[in-house]
Symmetry: C2
Subunit: 328 residues, 2 copies
Amino acid sequence: MSAMPDELSRVLAPVEEGMQRMRDVLTQQVRESSPAVRDMTAHVGRFRGKQLRAALVLLTGEATGNSTDEHATIAAIVEMIHLATLVHDDILDGAQVRRKVACVNQRWDNQVAVLLGDFLYARAFALSTELSSRMCSRVLAETTRRICVGEIEQSTRRYDFDMPQDRYEEIAGAKTAALYAAACELGARYPGGHDETGAAMRALGWEIGLAFQIVDDCLDLVATQAELGKSVGTDVEDGKVTLPVLRVYALADEAQRARIRDVFTMPGLDGRARRLREACDLQPGIDYALARAGELVETAMGRVRALPASPARAALAGLADFVLARRR
Amino acid sequence: MSAMPDELSRVLAPVEEGMQRMRDVLTQQVRESSPAVRDMTAHVGRFRGKQLRAALVLLTGEATGNSTDEHATIAAIVEMIHLATLVHDDILDGAQVRRKVACVNQRWDNQVAVLLGDFLYARAFALSTELSSRMCSRVLAETTRRICVGEIEQSTRRYDFDMPQDRYEEIAGAKTAALYAAACELGARYPGGHDETGAAMRALGWEIGLAFQIVDDCLDLVATQAELGKSVGTDVEDGKVTLPVLRVYALADEAQRARIRDVFTMPGLDGRARRLREACDLQPGIDYALARAGELVETAMGRVRALPASPARAALAGLADFVLARRR
């Protein structure tokens, strides 16, 4: 997750001013009088990323004629919650610590990463309580709960090669799409009202977010670290069976299935994603998963087209396209 | 932290009904439709503990004539935040994982403990947004931020034998007393108003909470696991230099100081707390720290005496006594 791709910058031009205000709020919020915390939050910048969730708050606000002075703050709060989940995703379990020793959490150890994530969550909730309406606190507290439940469910579904697709989508959705959905609902409804548009934008956020996660799952299997700007193959390492693998596994004969399971589960293997690519042809699974992501984005596009024409509407469509076309 | 001591049960009798309602809310809130989460939260019970923070919400509410129907819910929210901090305190850093292998997080691994803590935080905030006043969300979001900053500061002060006492109190206070202070302020002020009484009760909470932490730090050095019902000596293992040790170190000559530092820092030692007791006479440090805790409780007692006489006022005094007298 390095700098923002150029095509995305162009897409987000209609909300560039709001995005800048969002970044200012973010910078100010993670600043902290404690030197120890300041030292750590300075490095949260490495998670900067594409800030798609913040962009969705602003774009859905503009595109539905619901933009307020508080939208940039809401966008910053949504990004802070996203940052908190990223920091906590970096926590290693015991097996990983023993296996990787000095990898993800080189700079700080697990305990400090937990505290930094907690700090970001707390800052986000504290800021939301200062807004004129309680809607933001309510939607985001409930969304955070749902994200946690999704992550917990995912951790219990490791090495489950027979997971039905709707269960996968439920888990991937709770993990990722829930915050996209909340961002879009808040954009279209905050400080309250506009229930019908709000529901449509919430659904749009869910679809775009789930498509994003499915594309992410595909990239983790087949992209290189250089293309993606982050570690790849981590799902296979962590025993997460994602949609493309579920599909390949479903289509495979028993001998192929055994090879796939072995790549995931045999102790002491290195380069499991590479071995998986060698053990089977992943392409039909990737094609299937990307087609599903395409379907989701197409449904979302229908919701975009139902809005009145505007630069923000065009940007929403561009963002949905980007999610599908991105290679990192 | 096993069952509640009998003398504490007697002290809390005036709010027993509220405590039961608090426990009902807590049980209902940590119940979750996801089987994986349900399985985990069922075991949060092992953290049950003394629920002093919840009791303080109810007692300060009663004693200041500010009790509302929502106080039991607020008490449950405060306990949930406390539970979340306990679960996250259980996260092992890399060194600990390598050293202890199968100890604290036997049942679940680090990642799941992070998610369970996040889930409890999110549930607590979500519940607070349903209350009639936003005061609870505001106070607790800010308090949670402060707890995180205190824990982060503490982690950067490991092996700091020259830490001034006020710095120790600031860190121990942010870590523990902040939530006691918030509990008492919410009890006395929620849904808003009563500023002067609120400030006095907030100060009382801080004093009782800091005294509690100081006693905890003493018990960690000198109690046995059987007495305390939890692991002891963890501060020495983790490099946390607490008030009794700071005092002994300050009084020691250079040879003694070197022995103390060695016990904390020499690689590969086991039973560091026992070795510390052998390496120096901890008693003057313990006496000094307990005297400081006594001072704090005495100040808090002055605030209690300023309230009108009532069973709740008597219970507050009893609780303050308990904090000082407890042996677990």
